[in-house]
């Protein structure tokens, strides 16, 4: 049996922390172990390092959005899964662009949080329905070009179908559905500002055969030319 993935949670409401802990406990495989809880970022930083494999971060701590703190956490080596009551596509996009591995809204926590933590620990993409929604709604000029299949898989996933149903609907296997959705996520990781978490996610996606390196070439040249600026335009693919 594999070692369980360790997780930390930064959450200002104890009742939410309690709820997350219970979701983690009720996972049949006991694949995640909650090892640290902090009520704010200062408390988290004060904890003995190295910290957990994955940090579950409530985006709103004491009434303030902490999205701007994500790059710092990521640079310090944390894999961040954002967990938030917000589902506004703009906030979702900004969070992912800041280097969070996944975005889980509080409504979808029970269904998706454990899976998102596991995916983040392995640097694999995970796309919740709120993420799919944000990708579908994205109109920014820097957005990556998604194929029609990727769009359709994202749309059906956002609509609420299971991945198996999406596969039936599109006459493809469930695995291919995952592939399409993961590829869309990887394409997003190749745009916008650079972050070690995005590099790790892309490297893993290439290793897993989710994307081919040539599908994200613009990202590599971009990473070389512009260090930390927002993308000036959409990559070629």
């Amino acid at each position: 049996m594999e070692q369980p993935v360790t997780a930390a949670i930064i959450e200002d409401h104890p009742v939410v922390t309690e709820g997350v802990a219970s979701w983690i406990r009720s996972d049949p495989g006991q694949r995640v172990r909650l090892v640290q809880t902090a009520r704010d970022l200062t408390g988290f930083r004060a904890m003995p390092q190295p910290s957990a494999d994955v940090v579950i971060l409530d985006l709103e701590l004491s009434g303030e959005l902490v999205i701007t703190q994500i790059p710092g956490l990521v640079a310090a080596g944390c894999r961040v899964v954002a967990f938030s009551g917000h589902s506004d596509p703009a906030i979702v996009m900004e969070t992912l662009d800041s280097g969070a591995h996944a975005y889980v809204s509080k409504e979808e926590g029970r269904e998706h949080l454990v899976e998102a933590v596991l995916a983040a620990a392995a640097d694999r993409p995970y796309v919740t329905r709120s993420q799919a929604r944000a990708m579908l709604a994205d109109q920014s000029p820097a957005r990556p070009a998604l194929s029609q299949q990727e769009q359709q898989a994202l749309l059906l996933w956002f609509q609420g179908m299971s991945k198996a149903s999406v596969g039936r609907r599109m006459s493809i296997s469930e695995n291919t559905v995952r592939q399409y959705i993961s590829r869309a996520r990887a394409k997003y990781a190749a745009t916008g500002r650079t972050a070690p978490s995005k590099d790790a996610l892309l490297a893993r996606a290439i290793e897993d055969g989710v994307v081919r390196p040539d599908e994200i070439i613009p990202y590599q040249s971009f990473a070389r030319t512009a260090a930390d600026q927002p993308s000036p335009g959409a990559p070629g693919r």
């Binding site: 709604a137 609420g160 198996a164």
Partner: protein, 397 residues
């Protein structure tokens, strides 16, 4: 799974008597709209301004210019008089440009007026002694220039200007010696010239006021027509709602009252739930809520929510406006599915190329009879172990 080709979408406005449900937002009323009345009144005012410009320029060219040429031998220095005439002409040109471009501020208006006043006084002062009034071309032009630039300012300003002009001319005359005949001549010119100028200024003000009144009358007529058109639309929408109830809820209520429908029967309860949801939707259609499809879906979901079904409604992207008939088809599908939902349902609205995809995922446990596709809406469904997925896709083309 049923896939039906969408019919050509209906235009938004139907034939009389069958208007789209819900009233359009204000400002989209049909025919009978007049051009903005402020513009109309503005057009008249501009015409009056042009008339005054022509009058003043004509006076200076023909009247003052003619006199200048006729009395040429009398002046001590014709060149000086000519220069003053040109200065006045420039002031009139500048004043015309100012008033044609809009009402000038007091600084510019008075700057032009003072140039005219100085030029006319200088011309008068340079006239030969004893003949000043006889050969004076400048008094009239200066007065008209004042009328031109002060036309739409307070009447007192023009009065002050004309008085200053008269006093300046009288001062020059006094310097020459003020005989009784000179005074009589002065008063005669004052009465004729200044009187005409005051009359024109007063006339234009009266015409401005009349144009304003005409515009106000047209505005109120326009508003009345708009109100009538709105009332007609509301009336038609009410009628359409009443008709819709006649064919759906009323027979059911009649059956319940007559005892032919048994409330204990599950089928009857489903029919009741559907009709209750439709009634809510009918009320929602009358509301002028922004994003009306979302609003109507919320209303359609209300009855199921009261039944304890957890319903989430989410949107993705900037949703297009969907015409009333297409909204009906979509909300009918929503009602059919939500009525059959057991514990939860998810409704999503996503902007897609050329339209909108409204989808429903619910644990109905069975296939649901969905409304006929039409009015640009295509409907599809898929059944996966107890869960239904259905999508109503409206295409704007």
């Amino acid at each position: 799974m049923t896939a039906v080709q969408p019919r050509t979408p209906q235009p938004r406005t139907g034939p009389p008597g069958t208007p789209p449900p819900g009233t359009p937002p204000p400002g989209t009323l049909p025919s009978g709209t007049l051009p903005p009345t402020a513009m109309m009144s503005g057009r008249y005012q501009r015409a009056f301004t042009v008339a005054v410009v022509v009058l003043v320029a004509g006076w200076h060219l023909a009247g003052a210019g003619g006199q200048l040429l006729r009395d040429r031998p009398a002046y001590g220095s014709f060149a000086f008089q000519g220069a003053m005439w040109l200065a006045m002409a420039l002031a009139i040109t500048a004043g015309s440009v100012l008033v044609l471009r809009g009402a000038p501020g007091w600084r510019l208006a008075w700057a032009v007026a003072l140039v005219a006043l100085v030029a006319s006084t200088a011309a008068a002062a340079a006239s030969p002694a004893g003949q000043m009034l006889a050969v004076n071309w400048a008094w009239g032009s200066a007065g008209w220039t004042g009328v031109l630039v002060l036309l739409r300012r307070r009447f007192g300003e023009l009065a002050w200007f004309l008085a200053a002009e008269a006093v300046a001319t009288l001062g020059v005359q006094a310097g020459d010696g003020l005989h009784r005949t000179d005074l009589a001549g002065f008063l005669a010119v004052l009465a004729w010239s200044t009187g005409a100028q005051v009359a024109v200024a007063a006339g234009v003000r009266a015409l401005d006021a009349a144009a304003g009144q005409a515009a106000a009358a047209a505005r109120s007529e326009h508003a009345a027509r708009e109100r009538a058109a709105t009332a007609e639309i509301i009336q038609a929408a009410r009628h359409a709602r009443w008709l819709a109830l006649q064919e759906s809820a009323v027979p059911l209520i009649a059956e319940l009252a007559a005892g032919t429908a048994d409330p204990g029967d599950a089928q009857v309860r489903i029919r009741c739930a559907v009709q209750a949801a439709r009634l809510r939707r009918l009320l929602a259609e009358g509301d002028q809520a922004p994003g009306s499809l979302v609003h109507e879906l919320h209303a359609s979901a209300d009855v199921a929510e009261r039944r304890g079904v957890a319903i989430e409604i989410e949107t993705a992207g900037l949703l297009p406006q969907v015409p009333g008939r297409a909204r009906r088809v979509i909300t009918d599908a929503a009602i059919a599915i939500l009525t059959a939902a057991r514990s939860h349902a998810r409704i999503t609205l996503a902007a897609v190329a050329d339209g909108i995809a409204v989808s429903f995922v619910a644990d109905t446990g069975m296939a649901v009879r969905l409304p006929e596709a039409g009015d640009g809406v295509a409907i599809e469904q898929q059944q996966d172990d107890g869960t239904i997925w259905a999508e109503a896709r409206w295409n704007s083309r």
